[in-house]
Amino acid sequence: MSNLGIYIEIKKGKIQKNVKEVVSLAKSSGNTIFGVIFTNEFQNFKDELNGFDKIINVKGNDMVFHPDSFSETIAEIIKEHEMEYFMGSYSFKAKEIFPRIAGKLNECSLVNDCVNYNFGTGIATKPVYSGKLLKEIEIKNKLKLITLRSNVFPVEDLDAGSPELTEKTISDKIRSKVINVKKSESKSIDIMDADIIVSGGRGMKEKENFQILKDLASILNAGVGASRAAVDSEFASYNMQVGQTGKVVNPKLYFAIGISGAIQHFVGMKTSKIIVAINKDSEAPIFKKADYGIIGDLFKIVPMLKDELEKVL
């Protein structure tokens, strides 16, 4: 049995929702599961730590997220406990932290964005070439750093147990200074967190027309995404772009509205559980890729869809 650490990410005052997936997979390995949580308000989270054998609560004066201090602290923890695995959900923060840990430690390999990891064979599976292909990588290094793609792994019901709690002081090694944070004006949900995404393309014609997508999204509690053509035409901002040079999303339900379905867009959303396409061109490639398609004028269909959803939800 070896020691396996998990980064318990906190986002907007809550434990990030995909951490449960990581714990569920890790638990199946039979290893000793350590949770590493950065907070001075541990009591707020202590009832949500099912599945962990041990918890390391990192505390300190400056707990604002900084990839330098977080990664340095985790690297110390990994060494102190001679961990053989350190895992997390492949989130924005993880993308910053995990490679830094890998760079600080010897005899370790990082594989990001895994859709499977087999503890028996030591083989990780991950999408490559924007998901056009999958790759199986055997990791033979002493320390394996693994991040998991969100919404892929089943969440198990795990026992609360009574994890042993220890504390650790956060590192103060910070090499860049954050001097300002400008909050986004848009109130919409980040597409990386959304279970449902409503995306618009060049077919939206004008920036103002994105309002009908926002209306639809607000009923569905969805995030609003966009194709690159919509972003380039300035209908939407770049942080909404889905695709090979935008974000790779993996929601339960994805609406592609006025989007033709170019390969570079498709690879950014193809793993969505259900894809719905609305397009007036029956020849649009998106219809070959969608689970359900409606051929028609989006300016007619979308408001209708909104009304119908309002009735039943």
Binding site: R100, V128, S130, K135, I137, N180, A290, V312
Partner: protein, 256 residues
């Protein structure tokens, strides 16, 4: 001041990929390009050079012989030097990052390293940060604006939820470029002609001191994910299609 730009050669985004021998892609008939985000990184370095004649822009790539093409493109856009770490083997990512970092260390007076925020081929999303760690330099990722004053770098970067963070670092440091940073220039005809005459610096593993190439990760299999079953086009009047769609989403596939 020396500035490095990391350039990775990747298959064109349109490329249809097939697998050869179970572990690598079939390279025949693939068009190779500079990884898109690396072009934004290069553009930012070229803009800096335009402002400050002391800046020397070094484009650096690690890859097989064909990767020369990416360096030629970078030179045609305006880079001063092209450095090619020739390497045909499938080395571990950490080894490749160490080779890139050691090559950068060979030069003195390096102030900045510009890198794309990620490569679009292996999606490993870590080389840039490993290089920064091995160089012992601070790094700011995903930048959308960049300013250098003396030895102070100020940049804005996109973080979660569309929020924008402003970060300060001292040189030498590393930044990684997002798409919003700039619009890469096209190579001029004159640039292309000039690029052909520039001699590339070739580097091999033996030039880089003691880097262990012992492999710890092994590609076992590369394969195409299973195709999705063909979908279903709804039929009827718009009202009927919409009603049916909602019913399916709610009651059949239960995603609402």
């Amino acid at each position: 001041m020396n500035v490095f730009v990391l350039i990775k050669q990747v298959p064109d985004t349109e490329a249809m990929l097939s697998v050869r021998n179970g572990t690598s892609i079939n390279e025949e008939s693939i068009k190779w390009i500079i990884s898109p985000y690396d072009e934004y990184a290069l553009e930012e370095a070229l803009k800096l050079k335009e402002k400050d004649a002391d800046v020397v822009v070094n484009a650096l790539t690690l890859g097989p012989v064909r990767a020369e093409g990416a360096l030629r493109s970078a030179l045609a856009m305006g880079a001063d030097n092209g450095i090619h770490i020739e390497c045909n083997e499938d080395l571990d990512i950490e080894t490749r990052a160490r080779m890139l970092a050691e090559t950068i260390k060979k030069e003195s007076d390096t102030g900045l390293v510009f890198i794309g925020k990620q490569a679009i081929d292996d999606d490993s999303n870590q080389t840039h940060i490993l290089v920064a760690e091995y160089l012992d330099m601070p790094i700011t990722t995903n930048i959308i604006s960049f300013k250098l004053e003396g030895d102070k770098v100020t940049c804005e970067r996109e973080i979660e939820d569309g929020d924008i963070e402003t970060v300060e670092m001292n040189t030498p440091c590393v930044v990684t470029a997002s798409k919003v940073l700039n619009t890469p220039r096209y190579a001029s005809l004159m640039g292309i002609m000039k690029a052909k005459k520039i001699e590339l610096t070739k580097i091999t593993l033996s030039d880089l001191g003691n880097i262990s190439t012992e492999k710890k990760t092994f590609t076992k299999r590369l394969f195409a994910p299973p195709e999705k079953a063909p979908g279903r086009l709804l039929e009827g009047e718009p009202e009927e299609m919409v009603k049916e769609l909602v019913k399916i989403l709610k009651d059949e596939v239960k995603v609402l």
